[in-house]
Amino acid sequence: MAAFSELIKNFDKIRDYIRDFYIYGFKTRNDFKQKSNRSYDNEKRRIESYLRGYIKQSYTKSGKQTVINLDSSKIKSNPLYAAWKSKSFTANDIMLHFYLLDILKKEKSCTVLMLTNKISEKSGKVFDNQTVRLKCVEYEKEGILVSEKIGRLVYYSLATLTYSGLNFKYLGDAINFFSEASYFGEIGSYIIDNSGIGGNVFSYKHHYLVHTLEGTVLYETLLAMESGQRVKIKAWAPKSKAFNEYIIVPLKILISSVTGRRYLCFYSERENRFGTLRLDSIKSVKILDTYGNYAEMKIKLENNLDKVWGVGFGGRSRIEGIKVVLYIDEEREKYIIERIIKERRSGSIEKIGTNTFVYTNICFDASEMAPWIKTFIGRVIYLECTNPFVKNRFSGDLAEMYKMYFDDSI
């Protein structure tokens, strides 16, 4: 039986567990039936180790719950980035890493043979040329080393650009900020670790820490998008409770800053339509061949985005119109009008009478607007939609809420 190690070879292994412990804090060991007990215990132990100080445990009838308990308004640096810093390595990897850097700092430039001899001499361990060569090639790819061919020999030296070489007053603040407020923040966190940037003065609202877990999926998808390639996606389908495979053309990443959901927007050649898949449902991305009409399809999508309220590209009716008449006290409730202007997207608002305003919009799927309209409960005088489902659902929801919050009559 292999001994337990904190480190992991594959990031995907721990991704689902962290998500479950963080988002669904109520799950117990029995809820992870698809995995073995041993696998659950190991991953739980790893997460407890990575996220000390953020783990809370409680006992319920169904068993012990492990929760990653975070208040993101107090977080200056995403603790979940710890999982990105858990990659396993061999003794040779770590030895070569530090010996290469140590030797090249002094010697400036060496051949593989020179490096091999020096490392063996200094460490007392014999390395063969091929092992050292492979590490040099790997580090050149990563940008840590650079090579130069002189005659028939290849000389390696350290890349010269370090963080301290970038001497700008607010660059450290920018890295602190964007490591939380931009994409692939884990990379910003790597720079912070390496350079020891301190003095983080930022805090965040509407900050979805869990997005970092989708890093690999996002990275692969963007690579395909950059070169206009098809991808084969394996994603969890909640309705069928199984993984499905899709061959699609990835076009854009759609993000909701309100709900925290992120989607891959794609074109399906088979169905000749645009669609979306939640990024957190995607298990793997395999880059395939080039899609010939990529630029054209991307323009087509851009031309349609103003008619998408969220991520829905609609059903048969294609375009749906919606009209909501709202009561707003124009003297005392100007902030409501301002809020609608900020949140209206492609819709428009117009005054139609004293304290009466109408919001109108057309989009592919008006049912996506239902949650937003419900935020105006208490003000909706009238609702009309070309899709009768939207109005019926709104009225039905209201009736249910009346029942929920008023025991007898309202």
Binding site: V67, Y163, G165, Y204, K252, I253, L398, A399
Partner: protein
């Protein structure tokens, strides 16, 4: 380029810190080595790193850790992955808050020929508010940087502020942090007002700050306390994927959740009192798949809105 690589691991980082410290002090004790690992790596890492560190050949064997490597001024070069990320963020619309055009060009040049890791055009945040801050406004940038300096240097500031009634006010504050909202695309200054006995934490919109003066010699006050959190208890039904939607949307809040036999979930959410309206709106957006059980004051607010809705809605059946 590898996103997930041992080069960025906490193990490599803590070994580097051990080597640096050992070189500085000539040798380290076992206790000192463990302390460094505890500081930079995971809670169980000392069990794995400490026994191996001699095996990896970085130290002469013996009672004390005497380093074989000279790590003075050690700094890993910026990797290609990091360069690509830096190149991408230099294109962000908010970068002007930190760097001017010439600085951006200089950094871009220094980063060499690598491409950007991502293109902001590949992302579309479809529900971001349209009235975000103007990050290109020179006055805004000046105030932003002064506040940044004052928080870092622990200084008090004098702020001229245009309040919601458009009236100019002037007060001294202890700045705590610059808070950014992705939804609003706005910065707010979290601060405490000087001489305010309640020591109430305030949020000032950066776009409403007219002028900032750093008060030299007035060190920031340390006696402030976090505001006590308010809470609500909600029952989330198992319908319309509500559980998944709710838990992700409220993931940013500290919460306690438990699930009952029928698949519904009880969740206690902690939030800042000044966010109450936003919480209320978010709760309403879920409709009947979510019920607030308490406290009574919050439930009353929902009832009030429902009563008003019942009075004015023309098409209720």
């Amino acid at each position: 380029m590898e996103l997930f690589s041992e080069v960025y691991s906490t193990y490599y980082l803590s070994v580097r810190k051990i080597l640096e410290e050992a070189y500085k002090k000539k040798h380290l004790t076992t206790e000192e080595v463990k302390n460094i690992i505890d500081r930079y790596a995971f809670s169980e890492s000392a069990f794995f790193i400490a026994p191996n560190i001699e095996e990896w050949g970085f130290f002469d064997k013996g009672d004390n850790y005497k380093p074989k490597l000279n790590t003075e001024g050690y700094e890993l070069p910026i990797t290609n992955l990091e360069k690509c990320w830096l190149k991408a963020i230099l294109k962000d619309s908010r970068i002007g808050l930190f760097l001017n055009k010439e600085e951006i060009e200089e950094i871009n040049g220094g980063l060499g020929s690598v491409g950007e890791l991502f293109d902001y055009g590949d992302f579309h945040v479809f529900d971001k508010n349209t009235c975000g801050d103007d990050f290109k406004d020179e006055g805004y940038i000046k105030n932003f940087r002064m506040l940044l300096d004052s928080i870092r240097d622990n200084n008090t500031v004098e702020i001229e502020y245009k309040n919601k009634n458009n009236v100019l006010t002037e007060n001294k504050y202890f700045p705590v942090s610059l808070n950014y909202s992705a939804k609003d695309d706005k910065f707010r200054l979290i601060a405490f007002r000087l001489f305010d006995k309640r020591r109430k934490q305030l949020k000032l919109n950066l776009s409403s700050i007219v002028r900032v003066n750093i008060c030299e010699g007035m060190q920031n006050f340390k006696g402030w306390k976090d505001k006590p959190k308010s809470h609500i208890v909600v029952k989330i039904s198992n319908k319309r994927n509500a559980l998944d939607r709710f838990l992700l949307q409220f993931a940013q809040y500290e919460k306690e959740s438990s699930v009952s036999g029928d698949g519904s979930c009880l969740s206690k959410i902690y939030y800042d009192k000044d966010e109450e309206t936003e919480i209320l709106i978010r709760i309403l957006s879920f409709g009947p798949v979510l019920k607030v059980l308490g406290p009574e004051g919050f439930v009353d607010q929902i009832r009030q809105r429902l009563r008003r809705q019942h009075r004015i809605y023309k098409d209720i059946y």
